[in-house]
Symmetry: none
Amino acid sequence: MPALRRRGARSRGGTTSVQKDVVKQGDCIALMEAMPEASVDMVFADPPYNLQLEGDLLRPNNSKVDAVDDAWDQFDSFAAYDDFTRRWLRAARRVLKDNGSLWVIGSYHNIFRVGTALQDLNYWILNDVVWRKTNPMPNFRGRRFTNAHETMIWAAKDKDARYTFNYDAMKRLNDDLQMRSDWLIPICSGGERLKNDKGEKAHPTQKPEALLHRVIMAATKPGDIVLDPFFGSGTSGAVARKLGRHYIGLERDSDYIAVAKKRISQVQPITDMEMIDTPAKRQEARIPFGWLIEHGLLEPGTVLHGPDKRWRAKVRADGTLITADFKGSIHQVGAHLQGAPSCNGWSFWHVKADGKPVSIDVLRQKLRANLPKTLN
Amino acid sequence: MPALRRRGARSRGGTTSVQKDVVKQGDCIALMEAMPEASVDMVFADPPYNLQLEGDLLRPNNSKVDAVDDAWDQFDSFAAYDDFTRRWLRAARRVLKDNGSLWVIGSYHNIFRVGTALQDLNYWILNDVVWRKTNPMPNFRGRRFTNAHETMIWAAKDKDARYTFNYDAMKRLNDDLQMRSDWLIPICSGGERLKNDKGEKAHPTQKPEALLHRVIMAATKPGDIVLDPFFGSGTSGAVARKLGRHYIGLERDSDYIAVAKKRISQVQPITDMEMIDTPAKRQEARIPFGWLIEHGLLEPGTVLHGPDKRWRAKVRADGTLITADFKGSIHQVGAHLQGAPSCNGWSFWHVKADGKPVSIDVLRQKLRANLPKTLN
DNA sequence: AACGCTCTTGAATCACGTA
DNA sequence: TTACGTGATTCAAGAGCGT
């Protein structure tokens, strides 16, 4: 039960305290209603999509697609889904700080209803952001376009809110061009995809950490609290912890909670504030340096050195480098250290791997090979 | 013997006739209500976006909605926009043929409300398609992501509609990969952008012809009728005419109508069917397997084998196959042997010719080419 | 170690015509 | 309206395995 407080005493920075870095089991609406109001800086929500699947779907080779048919995704009608949506969005709005913001991810099955509800509840939409998948599932029957993206809505609490947007960090993550509303990121697979002890996927819709990296870097500051009312396998919590933010996860399913807790416990937070604070080749696909970090080819805090080890700098989470007295892009820092007018950071900087220096350009090539022609 | 005929030759509704290749002036809802029902094959709509800064939103009765800045008026504005949206979508649904489809383009200001209305009116969403702009307007204040895309919703009249989708044409447009739901297309500028006699742009939101080219090629056949209830500068009409389709444009503003009419009059339609027809495997003349035997391309008793020689069957004179324990069609026997729910016998079975395996589909193509064109 | 090949898999509202 | 037979339909990655 929230403490009795005077109207207007609501702080913008939180005199109220809320339990941080926890996962709570239960219905997210009830759990949010029990939280103090205006207590979190950002909400990230991956609600049920309300897919309406009828029969089985077979691939051309007659194998069956493992569909999302879990009970938690079943609703009787659009009206029921709308009611659920409005209730959790209203509860989220109450616990959100006045200058916080909210992200919701969805597909065409549900995102229009979410967006309508947001607007009706007086949220103020800032962007719709398209997550373009490098490797979506194809359309097996040839009856539609390949459903190759999902949509995120980013909204402030109201029209006049002074929400956080780390414009420079985003720009640097994108090689000094403004970050656009369409993001190209692979789906979660391979080693990142959590499995249960039977080797099955632990959660049917686990989101990639690269996606959450960009969301959290864009719209929070170190120390901020990220609330995820549909915590699932805990991607938002894991990335928040890694980036020096706090998390609160709400989840009904105890199996998912166990997976998420174990996962988060293995995350090594970046404690060096310098690494995470955010004060910001033409024919081939352009790969911003920041993408190496988003995709885990470099960890924030990694030490890079120049060709002959005279020069060193550390990698920050937003894709800039930092030395004792200077920070900037890989090119700017390289030029500064050498006292040169310019420097190609891609060829200048190296990272130690198994004792041997590896050019970061090698990492770029590796990433480029993994991000196919859909880049263009 | 079944007659050789094109598959999918069903009539697409339309005993009623409708005026084609015209632009009508007036309120689109009233104009659609005056049209015969089930009379157009596709609707493309670029409705007002309800940009909240513009304040020029008109209610259904054409009264102007005052500029709004508080929550109550905002709700009033959304309600008016929703009402308008539902009315024109309902009218459009009535004039759409049962197997037609509808496209609506919008931005985050209005697209969620459009999508919700579509679902509520029992339209069946097929895809949301993202138009990624190569050259969007940058974000000048640095407070959001560059708004670099718009969203189109593609919907059928209902869940069971047999809408047109030229899968093969789309695949060829995309280097023989399935067309995805994210399209990269430049905004309309340069010579394509229509100007008035003062050199100002003739319409504020003229859409690029490349966008309409892909929409119309994807979802209509030559000779189909495309209805655009917010005709504006007439991009949909110009592209429809160019591609051998018909258009119906509805528009309130007489200046826009003048621009559109002049523009369309200058379009040279492509008359060569070879240029605009989009042959699909599904629509090719059906050749029963037995014809291969009748026409001497296969002898009764010939041994067929599967892709890897594990499976064998003999051809009987009536066009069935026989194995030790089973007989049936090429499809049934292929499925039975593999223990699969189904099998495309045309691609499964091969015959030895000069020591090399030849797919029976090759024989089918040979026969199809030799049959008189008039039957095709 | 480095390839090359096969097999598996991912938030999916995934036939159609004829009798 | 329903039942049934034909036959159309997949892309990018990762894992595993053999050379």
